[in-house]
């Protein structure tokens, strides 16, 4: 560096500091406090709390979670469930007895729906929720979502902790989603389930139900018509709000292709994620070897998950067969710090 460079450097620093030196921003501390206050979600519903240790510490951010269609699993191709805000899908409503194990699909108006279901998978920071869009035969979105929560996910990397007959029904009154448990067997945390996993499992229900009703409605668990104090050992006496996305969702979730999808010529992948600098890396792998790779930019990052989409990925030069499509968050440290990337995968067949 020459003296001249040093002089110009110093001068640029001066000029830049000087340029903003008299800007005295207004005091926003009160507004910030207001936005981060823990209790109220809205004046009408001051009783909503998030669950769990780490989650409770950041419950404040619930107030700042914006309604975001895509993050609620909106596919654009489905009827708007908000048109029927008071739908009741308790399968036993005909005889008025909660707790029967009749499946929702036996209701007379059952039809084929696509529902957004969240499942547990393993992320670099422990269990996280991944989203899958599943076809299901059900009376409506709530019934379909409830059925998927208790069914095996299409992606073998995912799991659901809810047994087949965990829930007897769910309803939505426009403000609150009520989920009815079949019996008290899920009151305590089962042996072998970590408390992290239990909390994520509760959030799995919250996120899936919210996607079904397309609203950030609170979710209440009930048994025999009464609120139940805990489910899987997680406190549920108050209706539950969703925990912040970045705390419970996998930071990378593939929407398309779906598991087992057959592609030919080329395909476009999309999903949601929150990756450093919004960089989303993708790969097509055959076994362990990467045969294609690239990156795309999501619409945002950091505070929540944002949609991303790849360019058309040309697979016409690949030998027909099974491949894995991989999407992952960018890890600028190259794994040197932190937990490594959040990854989601789909098995695809190239023909």
């Amino acid at each position: 560096m020459t003296d001249r460079d040093r002089y110009l450097d110093a001068r640029l620093s001066e000029l830049m500091s000087d340029a903003v030196s008299e800007i005295e921003p207004g005091d926003r501390l009160a507004s910030i406090r207001n936005e981060t206050r823990v209790t109220p979600m809205s004046a009408r519903r001051p009783w909503i709390y998030a669950v769990g240790g780490a989650v409770a510490a950041t419950a404040a951010v619930i107030t700042a979670v914006a309604f975001a269609g895509d993050n609620l699993g909106l596919t654009g191709s489905e009827p708007d469930p908000a048109n029927s805000p008071s739908s009741v899908v308790t399968p036993s409503e005909s005889d008025g007895t909660p707790g029967t194990s009749e499946t929702p699909s036996s209701t007379p108006s059952a039809s084929e729906l696509t529902v957004a279901a969240y499942y547990l998978g393993d992320g670099p920071r422990g269990p996280r929720l991944f989203r899958e869009f599943d076809r299901v035969s059900a009376a409506d979105q709530l019934a379909g979502a409830l059925a998927r929560l208790q069914a095996t996910p299409a992606d073998p990397d995912y799991r659901t902790p809810w047994p087949q007959d965990a829930f007897s029904g769910a309803s939505f009154d426009g403000d609150l989603v009520t989920v009815n448990l079949t019996d008290a067997s899920l009151h305590d945390r089962p042996a072998g389930m970590s408390s992290d996993e239990a909390e994520i499992a509760i959030q799995q229900v919250v996120y899936t139900m919210q996607a079904a009703v397309q609203s950030r409605a609170a979710v209440e668990f009930k048994l025999d018509g009464n609120p139940i104090d805990q489910v899987l050992g997680v406190a549920t006496s108050e209706p539950l709000a969703e925990a912040p996305q970045t705390d419970v969702l996998s930071l990378m979730s593939i929407t398309s292709p779906s598991e087992g999808e057959t592609v030919s010529g080329s395909f476009t992948a999309n999903g949601v994620g929150s990756s450093f600098e919004a960089n989303v890396q993708w790969q097509v792998k055959q076994g362990d070897s990467v045969v294609k790779s690239g990156f795309t930019t999501a619409e945002g990052w950091m505070d929540k998950l944002y949609p991303w989409q790849t360019e058309a990925i040309d697979v016409s030069d690949l030998t027909p067969g099974d491949y894995t499509f991989v999407a992952m968050t960018d890890d600028p440290s190259g794994g040197a710090e932190g937990h490594g990337p959040d990854v989601d995968t789909r098995t695809i067949t190239v023909e």
Binding site: V20, P25, I32
Partner: protein
């Protein structure tokens, strides 16, 4: 050193606000020019850092996260605002003290610096603001922007060259 068990998200927020609110708004002004927009950007960033507190728990990390949030949100604001040029034209500069020649000169100089920053490509502007306003090192800038140190170097050298052209007189003039 703060005990993270005691230093809650609310306390952290307050201390970070007291120490960095003004500087971060000024940083954002260098990026987006408009003071009101900058206040919004930094306010949102504080809300975000509060939400992440359980994962940050460390004042240094929190400040790094805040800086990152401010730069990224400033960028998104610009991206989502097709009317940047108009914003620049009607942006709120510190009002000149009427009548005094020195003040008029000062106002013109400050406007010229902000104008020049506004003409740089986004990345160059970010690198220049972090380097010359916050005095961050190459490595810190690379971390904040999520780009390589090499990229920081090249943005910095192009940014410097551009600002030398745009601000020639002011760079020489030490008045």
């Amino acid at each position: 050193m703060h005990d993270s068990g005691v230093w809650s998200a609310d306390d952290a927020l307050e201390q970070l606000y007291a120490a960095h609110w003004r500087q971060l708004v000024r940083l954002s002004v260098l990026l987006v020019r408009d003071v009101g927009t900058a206040e919004e950007v930094v306010q949102d960033s504080f809300v975000a850092v509060h939400g992440r507190w359980s994962r940050l728990r460390d004042p240094d990390k929190a400040l790094a996260y805040l800086r990152q949030a401010v730069v990224n949100r400033s960028r998104s604001v610009l991206r989502h605002r097709a009317v940047v040029a108009r914003e620049i034209a009607r942006s709120a500069l510190p009002a000149p003290a009427p009548g005094a020649d020195e003040s008029t000169l000062t106002t013109a100089r400050r406007g010229a610096v902000l104008d020049a920053m506004g003409q740089l490509p986004q990345r160059q502007r970010e690198v220049m603001a972090l380097r010359y306003y916050l005095d961050l090192s190459e490595a810190e800038i690379a971390d904040t922007l999520g780009i390589s140190r090499g990229a920081v170097k090249s943005h910095a050298s192009r940014g410097c060259a551009a600002l030398r052209d745009l601000l020639g007189n002011y760079l020489e003039d030490r008045s």
